[in-house]
């Protein structure tokens, strides 16, 4: 009698993504597809220099261009108290520059015109006179007392240092190092990388003076946060603000921050009383919006001879650009960097961090990671790799000695996180078998005799995904929980809304599967809607792999509330007491008489047509979910490479990814997430390079220089799964969206290092471009992406 859950598109079904129906037909509706009557177009003039005092801005020629409606400068923004805006890290960021420009590409002026061509033409007519200042392009220069103070706009900012922060137990860690047989040390740089969503950022602000309502179409991963921020900054009451985030062409963290372009378009619409569209171009996106990483590491591991890790120290030096705009939970200054080593049983650990302003675009966004977790895990796995080598121990054996064992959960990490589940050693076994670990060393030796350089790298990690809980996690004071609202129509069809915002994750598909699992309503009968703050319940948005852990849990919980009411209706329809009602997927029946039952659809109809006395009609509800803990997925990745000794070019021969993300709602989507993340990891490890010359010019501000890998060079990935359900999530799921980006880079780098470290080299910084690998092979020395002078 019971429904086949896979057939109705429930949990575990590799259901085709419903959103793809419109995407593959070119029928998606992105911000740039929205055309409003009377809409004007905005173009931003960006700074050509990295650090300069603005002596003058002459906009008169721009005003003369036919079709120009408005030219905005920082001075005009300042007159409305909008020249500066708050960042998500309690700093301020210039909307349009007034006093100085602080990075190349900074917003200096804006032209609003009848069409985007005119706006661009008029931008070229604006004359800005700069008095150039020395540019600071790395933390070393930021510490140099002879260099200028970047943030001379701020009081109490006598240096370029943003923060110093520490966590862990220094004394215990010092003792662990005193007790150690072997101490391993490694210095690294995780270079700046860019999220590179296919769709750039943009907005259409539409202020209606008659109603006082501000509607903004916006590329936002977190529309409700934007609504709150606009209410605070623009002094428009929150109920008069509607943020609509339509289809998004990827986000990867890039669309979490609030960008100057959004704010300028809002003011422009208020002033012109016309809708104003701003669509950023590729260079604008690369040069000015939230980047990821750019962190230097000094790492140390203390070990006993038998391989047991006694303690670790990490000192990070981070480059935040001109404004401290990291999107991260308020309590933590360098994101969740202290989640490092969470999968290892380490008695003592100590992390110190220092952050600096530089003349580079602000960011520090969580590019496909849960707040600096990518850096944390990359540093961890490079430290582990070096430590195993320094001990002379096998890479897999060293990890297996130190990984947290199954019977140790729940496990309190040295930095205070509580990991709650996993089968780490099982994942290792699955991966080792798939990659052919046991025969590799022989293979490597034989290949070397033939002049071929093979290498095998491992990366293992557990990462904290799904912030809250709300006790620990908030963003600018707003607690990190999430919500869902479910309405069952009388014919048994439904609409589900959540406070998350899909941008490729496939929420329209998977949320319906959770409802199908909980209620037995076929997933095809459920429409999912997100991104409109006037209709969706409040939520913190989608990033940091938090959708399934938080909003997904809210979906399950609201479905359970609906089921509880439907049970009462079923008792009424079946004329028995509620206690005598049993549930099977999609159907209530009378205990002891399974034939006698009603479907969930019967109950839905009755909710509108045959309600028991005293019961409210209708079948709808909402749920707010505050997770008791983060979720802790585990990844064990194995990569085998061949390095061409004559050129330094390296090829991936095989890549095995073992992921344990708990219960999989839609296995196909999980696999897509892992493959996409591994592709990005490969890009970072192999080719992506965005850097700055000594004058602060951004090198790599277009997609001919900053490379996205194509299907041609991206290696194949062999995926495996282990399932350890999350003990606290209603359906046992853990986050997965970012595991591969987080754990992937170290697997590639460790593999290449394994192929070349016989020369004595310990580290080549990412990206492992052929010239860097070749240099390491030739010299046997480290190849550093760090600035020449030691920092910290």
């Amino acid at each position: 009698m019971s429904l086949d859950e896979i057939k109705i598109g429930g949990m575990g079904a590799s259901r085709r993504r419903v959103e793809d129906n419109r995407f593959i037909r070119g029928k998606g509706k992105y911000v740039d597809d929205v055309v409003l009557p009377g809409m004007l177009h905005m173009e931003i003039l960006r700074s050509t220099v990295a650090h300069a005092r603005i002596k003058s801005i002459d906009t008169s020629a721009a005003w003369e261009v036919p079709g120009v409606r408005l030219v905005l400068t920082g001075e005009m923004m300042a007159a409305r108290n909008l020249a500066w805006m708050p960042t998500l890290s309690y700093d301020t960021q210039a909307v349009l520059a007034t006093d100085k420009v602080r990075f190349q590409g900074q917003e200096v002026a804006a032209v609003i015109a009848d069409d985007p061509y005119v706006a661009k033409d008029a931008c070229a007519k604006i004359v800005v006179e700069y008095e150039q200042l020395p540019a600071i392009v790395n933390p070393t220069q930021a510490q140099d007392p002879s260099m200028p103070i970047i943030r001379d706009d701020k009081e109490n900012q006598p240096t370029n240092k943003i923060f110093e922060w520490e966590i862990g137990d220094k004394e215990r860690t010092d003792q662990a190092f005193a007790d150690a047989d072997v101490v391993s040390t490694i210095d690294l740089h995780y270079p700046r990388s860019h999220p590179s969503p296919m769709e750039n950022c943009g907005s259409i602000a539409d202020y209606d003076r008659a109603t006082g309502k501000l509607t903004v179409y916006m590329t936002s991963q977190a529309p409700h946060i934007v609504r709150a921020a606009v209410a605070m900054v623009a002094e428009i009451p929150e109920h008069q603000i509607r943020i609509i985030s339509p289809d998004l062409g990827g986000g990867f963290g890039n669309k979490v921050p609030i960008y100057p372009g959004y704010v300028i378009s809002i003011l422009a619409s208020i002033l012109t009383e016309r809708p104003v569209k701003w669509i950023e171009d590729n260079t604008g996106n690369l040069i000015s919006t939230g980047f990821g990483r750019d962190v230097y590491l000094q790492g140390q591991v203390a070990m006993r001879k038998d391989g047991k890790i006694l303690g670790m120290r990490m000192h990070t030096i981070s480059d935040h650009g001109a404004f401290y705009a990291d999107a991260q939970p308020t309590k933590f200054k360098i994101g969740l960097m202290h989640s490092t080593f969470a999968c290892y049983d380490i008695p003592a650990a100590h992390l110190t961090s220092v952050g600096y302003y530089t003349n580079k675009a602000p960011g520090g966004v969580a590019y496909r990671c849960s707040f600096r977790v990518t850096e944390a895990m990359f540093f961890q796995e490079r430290m582990i790799h070096a430590a195993a080598n320094d001990l002379g121990m096998d890479q897999a054996e060293f990890r297996r000695i130190n990984l947290v064992k199954d019977d140790m959960f729940p496990y309190r990490t040295a930095f205070g996180f509580l990991t709650d589940s996993g089968q780490y050693d099982k994942c290792m076994q699955v991966g080792m078998e798939a990659i052919g670990y046991d025969t590799f060393k022989q293979e490597q030796e034989e290949a070397r005799k033939r002049g071929k350089l093979l290498g095998l790298g491992i990366s293992t990690m557990t990462e904290p995904l799904g912030a809250g809980n709300s006790r620990e996690y908030d963003i600018i004071g707003i607690k990190m929980f999430d919500s869902a609202e479910l309405r069952i129509h009388m014919t048994g069809k439904a609409i589900l809304r959540t406070g998350a915002k899909t941008q490729g994750q496939g929420h329209e598909t998977t949320w319906a599967q959770i409802v199908a699992h909980e209620l037995g309503i076929p997933a095809d009968d459920i429409v999912v809607e997100e991104g409109d703050t006037d209709t969706a319940p409040f939520g913190m948005g989608t990033y940091a792999s938090r959708s399934t852990p938080v909003a997904g849990a809210a979906v399950a919980m609201v479905a359970r509330k609906i089921r509880a009411k439907a049970r009462k209706i079923a008792a009424h329809l079946l004329e028995v007491s509620e206690e005598d009602i049993e549930w099977e997927l999609g159907r209530f029946y009378v205990r002891g008489n399974q034939e006698r039952g009603v479907t969930i659809q019967d109950c839905a109809l009755a909710a509108y047509s045959n309600i028991p006395d005293g019961m409210e009609p209708g079948l709808e509800n909402n749920a707010y979910y505050d997770p008791p803990n983060l979720t802790w997925p585990f990844a064990a990745y194995f990569c085998k490479v061949e390095v061409d000794a004559e050129t330094g070019v390296w090829d991936v021969l095989k890549f095995v990814a073992v992921d344990d993300c708990g219960v999989r709602i839609n296995p196909m989507i999980v696999e897509g997430q892992v493959m996409g993340g591994l592709t990005e990891a490969y890009a970072m490890a192999n080719m992506q390079y965005i850097t700055f010359d000594e004058e602060g010019n951004c090198i790599g501000s277009n997609y001919m220089d900053y490379l996205l890998p194509t299907a041609w060079e991206t290696p194949g990935f062999e995926l495996h799964e282990v399932v350890t359900p999350c003990p606290h999530h209603p359906i046992g799921a853990k986050g997965i969206g970012e595991c591969a980006t987080v754990a992937g880079p170290a697997a590639f780098v460790n593999a290449v290092m394994n192929a070349i470290e016989h020369t004595g080299v310990r580290n080549v910084d990412m990206p492992l471009m052929p010239n860097r690998v070749f240099e390491a092979l030739q010299t046997g020395k480290d190849v550093s992406g760090m600035p020449p002078v030691k920092v910290g």
Partner: protein
């Protein structure tokens, strides 16, 4: 990515196109494949007042071989036409090797061989192959046609020898004097990338002896590097490891790379030497097999 205003003309004959260029007075540009020109216009690196689209001019999409073996490639032959050719590998192995390494498949369907030569990118693939093959370009202006050796056609980075009122209408590759051998190797960071360093080698073999030797390099100088003189040390010789090394050293010395984020000048020079060695060693092996 909004270009400045420009006029657009689509002439139906070369004469009409030349007249439009004349009228443009140096502010008109020929649009063929547009794969470099359009991005440059959209980025406002170039702002021509007029684009003269020659795609509607009939009879420019030919690729023919004269009875004496001369290869002629018309102005509207796309990269893909060379890549798809079933005979090019036998007659012009250097061109065939480069064809699949030019840009990416999307660009290859639209971009043109001759247009790419006119673009004169120091990292461009076709210029290197043409110089190695001793190729020429036929240009037509108000006073008629003239032929320019490719070595003189590329005069600097993104600068060619065309007068403002001339159109490049055909590339000419002279016949091989012997069995044509050669290849093209390119170090690129990703499909569609320009060369970090690349090497085109074209040899005409008389038995085991090198008759004519041609070589040119991309990505390792301010313009395409003509390494024909350097590789001429092979002429009259066989492809022994010693001769190959001497040639590779000579070609590497002709490179003029600069250090940038793709690698040091020494590294790029080393890549040139490695690629020359690889191409010549491969030819030597296939000659041995053939013998």
């Amino acid at each position: 990515m909004y270009p400045p205003k420009f006029a657009y003309e689509a002439p139906k004959s070369i004469g009409e196109a030349i007249a439009l260029l004349e009228a443009g007075g140096g502010e008109a540009k020929i649009l063929a494949g547009g794969q470099s020109l359009i991005p440059m216009v959209k980025l406002r690196f170039a702002s021509p007042e007029m684009l003269v689209d020659i795609n509607g001019i009939p009879g420019l999409d030919y690729m023919t071989i004269d009875p004496d073996g001369t290869l002629r490639i018309g102005a509207l032959v796309r990269h893909e036409d060379l890549e798809q050719s079933t005979t090019l590998a036998a007659t012009h192995p250097t061109l065939a090797a480069a064809a699949s390494l030019v840009a990416d498949p999307i660009i290859r369907t639209r971009g043109t061989f001759v247009g790419s030569l006119c673009h004169a990118d120091p990292q461009g693939d076709w210029s290197a192959t043409m110089i190695a093959l001793g190729g020429r370009i036929v240009v037509q202006g108000p006073k008629g046609k003239r032929e320019i050796d490719l070595r003189n056609f590329v005069v600097g980075p993104f600068t060619n020898a065309l007068a403002y009122n001339e159109i490049a209408i055909e590339a000419v590759i002279p016949p091989a004097k012997g069995t044509p051998r050669g290849s093209y190797l390119k170090l690129e960071r990703r499909v569609g990338d320009f060369a970090t360093a690349s090497v085109a080698v074209a040899l005409d073999m008389n038995g085991a002896t090198v008759g004519r030797a041609g070589c040119a390099l991309a990505g390792v100088g301010g313009r395409t590097i003509d390494a024909n003189d350097a590789i001429s040390v092979l002429v009259g010789k066989t492809l022994t490891p010693e001769n190959i090394e001497a040639a590779a050293d000579a070609v590497a010395a002709a490179a003029d790379p600069r250090t940038d984020h793709r690698g040091s000048s020494d590294y790029k020079r080393h890549i040139v030497k490695t690629f020359v060695t690889r191409i010549l060693t491969n030819i030597a092996h296939s000659e041995q097999k053939a013998a």
